[in-house]
Amino acid sequence: MDSSETQSPTVTQREQWMVESQVFQMYELLSSVPRNAQSVLLELQRDKHIEFLTNGLRQLGPSFCVLDANRPWLCYWILHSIALLGDSVDDELENNTIDFLSRCQDPNGGYGGGPGQMPHLATTYAAINALITLGGHRSLSSINRGKVYTFLRRMKDPSGAFRMHDAGEMDVRACYTAISVASVLTILDDELVKGVGNFILSCQTYEGGISGEPGSEAHGGYTFCGLATMVLIGEVNRLDLTSLIDWVVFRQGVEGGFQGRTNKLVDGCYSFWQGGVFALIQKLHSIIEEQLRLLDAGGSAIDSPQLASISCHSGKRGLHDTSGSAKFSNIGFNFLKEPAEMEPLFHSIALQQYIILCSQLQEGGFRDKPGKHRDYYHTCYCLSGLSVAQYSYSKDADSPPLPRAVFGPYSNLLEPIHPLYNVILDLYHEAHEFFSTS
């Protein structure tokens, strides 16, 4: 058995050991410094983060031209991060952002990466989430829902999946951005939903996680997108949830953070993509129970009539109104009412520890891992993951977490999110109210 020890380490092993040693160095640093220095390290550097974020909204340097195609993403990453920290932007910046995003809106529907650019599903998702995060009448009414619907229909492929843009790539990410947007704007209907479930099912791999396209490797980003989409269309019971859970629990490594794929390196952004999966799982316990019960009885866990009836226990109830959008429009809303009956299946404190001690920079912003540079994408998803972890022991959205659920001082507590859309819960409610009544 020990002959394996004489072989030289592989690339995977070498890279993993390097990251582990850097991470453990940071954890050891914490235990070796005096008390007052310790408390600085454990603290969320709110002011520094807000400064980093607001600067980003106001002015970006020449190197940012490579993100020229994705300014709505920058808006969302920055605004959502500011909102998670419980802060907001001033009126001028808010109005400028609404105006800017309106210019990104294509006359035929959807949002492009910048003014005059071709509309794209990802930037549409980012723009709409950014506008919901700004909140208020002016922001929400700037969204032309009818045109967005037209755009989504145009992006729909006969196979059931969605294309990112005209003649663009088709994958689980495209499905999520389309369905999420349609759901939150209450324009989701049978035409948009048909075939999506089949496509996502074909992307659940032998490992249990979900890939971007059929045949590709199980991946955290796509697993979140796939699972959230299946919930939103009322077909989550069709996934093999027990093997999905078994895959995702093993994505949390010794560092405390999550990796995106088996045998790859930890990355702060997966705090949300993988961590968010757990937030969704916690509310699906009755479906999971049923799948386990069917396995126990020797049947197939998946194709069960009992499951279909439990599946979308919210939106599909009282289906007297068979018109398109009523069927799906309350799934996202009712999902929140499901109590979280299970304890979180991941190690919430270990994840928070990784985010605060390894991803957070004292000068503001968050990064993938020690040795990498900060950026707005990682800032957004590290904070989103931190929020998910802090609220993971809360049975319902209304009760604030107990102090022991929060790593570091209780003042580290962030705002809670809606785990299906990744927008602040209160802002989601405001938007839901607005779109349901208009």
């Binding site: 592989t10 970006l60 920055i78 952002t97 800017f100 990466g113 590709s216 396995l295 190690h347």
Partner: protein, 362 residues
């Protein structure tokens, strides 16, 4: 078709072949947010791009300006950077899989228009593959580039097969887990063929790095889909042998354990009944090193009705620490207890599994 002709360094506004074109500036509005302070030559290139795009001019010079825009936006662009810029820039120009995944580095419309021009000009698409190769070199994680490559390969059909397999192999030799490269490679195999050597290729990658989960995933893809191999059931026995060997060599490697389970997808009974599966668990458990996946697999077997021999009970007993309840009523419960202790990151998961054990588990 070089993207920049030799010695052609003059800005577009000074080149005679562009003298009849009025550049179109970007309409950011009076108060843009996330404004990007563009360098002058980038602004100029994009202004000329917009001019030909809105005029729908599908000509050689249009093709030329898309190439310039692609190169500038794709990061082959040196600038002097302030500290703040460099923070972000390094992340962009260097490998950042996550950012590459969400934020396409080049405007989709530039690539889209380039495709329209290529069609209109009936351009040599083999040349286009070369163009993409150069751009991809600096940007192996950019969606637009891979999507464009797929479009070109589709047009060329099976003429492109060996080029595409070579191209992805080259990218994978630099980064054996590049997600885009693997997706593209799978697409090529399914649409254009070339399966003959793929299982060997997987074998070679796994010899280089037995922990490469992408290679395991590709192996699964090949054995289930290759028209030369007869399908999962036909391949199962030889694959189980291969996988068991990999497990014994490195029991801490998660990939082969999941692969082994995958070989019995949709046929749990055969998985439970295969003596090689339970036997590899026992072997690893008895060695008492790196036992987490062996225990987890044993737990799953038990949940599916596996009847353990005394050897298994003894092996798990030997892993118990003194503080654990020595009188666990059955093996599955004992396994959950051991795992809860041995694998603390997943303590909540093992507690949940213990709680959800089917009634009649041994």
């Amino acid at each position: 078709m070089e993207w920049k002709e030799e010695g052609e360094e003059r800005p577009l506004s000074q080149r005679p072949e562009w003298s009849d074109v009025t550049p179109v500036p970007q309409d950011d509005g009076p108060n843009p947010v996330v404004p990007i302070a563009y360098k002058d030559d980038f602004t100029e290139t994009m202004d000329y791009f917009r001019a030909v795009y809105f005029a729908d001019e599908r000509s050689l010079r249009s093709l030329h300006v898309t190439a310039e825009a692609i190169h500038m936006n794709a990061g082959n662009y040196t600038v002097t950077l302030s500290n703040l810029d460099f923070d972000f820039a390094e992340n962009l120009f260097l490998e950042n899989e996550a950012i590459g995944r969400i934020a396409s580095r080049v405007e989709a419309v530039v690539w889209h228009f380039r495709r329209l021009i290529l069609e209109a000009l009936n351009a040599d698409l083999h040349e286009e593959l070369n163009f993409i190769k150069k751009v991809a070199n600096g940007n192996p994680k950019n969606y637009q580039i891979w999507h464009h490559r797929r479009w070109v390969a589709e047009k060329l059909g099976s003429d492109a097969t060996s080029k595409e397999l070579d191209f992805t192999k080259k990218i994978l030799s630099l980064d054996a887990k590049n997600y885009h490269a693997w997706s593209h490679r799978q697409w090529v195999l399914q649409e254009l063929g070339g399966w003959e050597d793929e299982l060997d290729y997987c074998k070679q990658l796994l010899e280089d790095d037995i922990f490469n989960n992408s290679a395991w995933n590709q192996r699964y893809f090949v054995i289930t889909k290759s028209p030369f191999l007869g399908g999962l059931e036909a391949m199962r026995e030889s694959e189980v042998n291969y996988t068991v060997g990999a497990i014994i060599a490195k029991p801490e490697n998660e990939s082969p354990w999941r692969y082994l389970r995958g070989l019995y997808k949709d046929d749990a009974q055969s998985w439970v009944n295969d003596p090689q599966v339970s036997s590899v668990c026992l072997t690893v458990l008895s060695a008492k090193r790196n036992t987490v996946f062996a225990l987890s697999t044993l737990l799953d077997l038990l949940c599916h009705g596996f009847q353990p021999s005394q050897d298994f009970i003894n092996a798990v007993d030997a892993l118990k620490t003194p503080d654990l309840d020595q009188s666990d009523s059955n093996l599955a419960t004992a396994v959950c207890s051991v795992l809860g202790h041995m694998d603390p990151m997943r303590v909540n998961y093992w507690a949940w599994r213990k709680n959800k054990l089917p009634a009649q588990t041994a």
